[in-house]
Symmetry: C2
Subunit: 159 residues, 2 copies
Amino acid sequence: MPRRPTRPPPLLADFDDDERDAVLTVNRAFYRAFNDRDYAAMENLWAPAGAMVCLHPGQPPLHERREILESWRGILGHPESPKVRCVGEWVIGRAGLAIVVCREILANGQLMATNSFVRSRDGWYMVGHHSGPVPSIELARSQGAAAATAPTRDRRKLH
Amino acid sequence: MPRRPTRPPPLLADFDDDERDAVLTVNRAFYRAFNDRDYAAMENLWAPAGAMVCLHPGQPPLHERREILESWRGILGHPESPKVRCVGEWVIGRAGLAIVVCREILANGQLMATNSFVRSRDGWYMVGHHSGPVPSIELARSQGAAAATAPTRDRRKLH
């Protein structure tokens, strides 16, 4: 594949531990808003404008901010909406864009989420959420998923 | 939520149309490798080292390069492995990190994928793949998903 080696790479700028912590703070606030049924907090988490995407498990993708927030209003207001515990956060980031992959623990199953964040002048905002079911792992109440033993992949299954 | 307004924002550097095209080229090469059952191409697409994650639908997350490539070797070598057509690519990027969300059209269903890429000195490499099933939309053979009509979200369903 052509890699255009003659072009100098852009500056792979600053994504330091402070930035990583700031992203994880917003990711945690996302799950807190979920568990507190706090729609205002959820609304403030999502970027005020620009490109975004939300993929609830098994649902059509949502790209409009209005649609995304409407979906969250429905989820947060639903009497059977689950509580979600987020564990095992994995972060990759560069200046202005970061991804957190984490396990979502529900009472009746587990999901993995890929959450995306962009930085604006006043901080990090969510621009992407994609979650889907995964096989459950057992973990103690205070234990992170990274420390738990994951099941072996079923190699008979296809992509 | 605290936004640390006193800290100056980092440089939101260069992610221009050329970079966007370069990321899309690697994303397309990913699906070409898939359809051509070209394991060597698949291996070259993934970052040679560093943090990465692969989430096949309904499967445990894979973080080790060796495990990720082993999973792809299994998929590409499987006699019933499907052909996948990628449509409706949606890109968000900053210097050094980019995300492509796209629809994967299979003969018997559709998935949405969140693919992540980092830039190294010689180009963009895959560091993340997360795909899961979504309701199918109808689209003509040459048509992008963005132009097709998506079904309405089922508001009875929870997150």
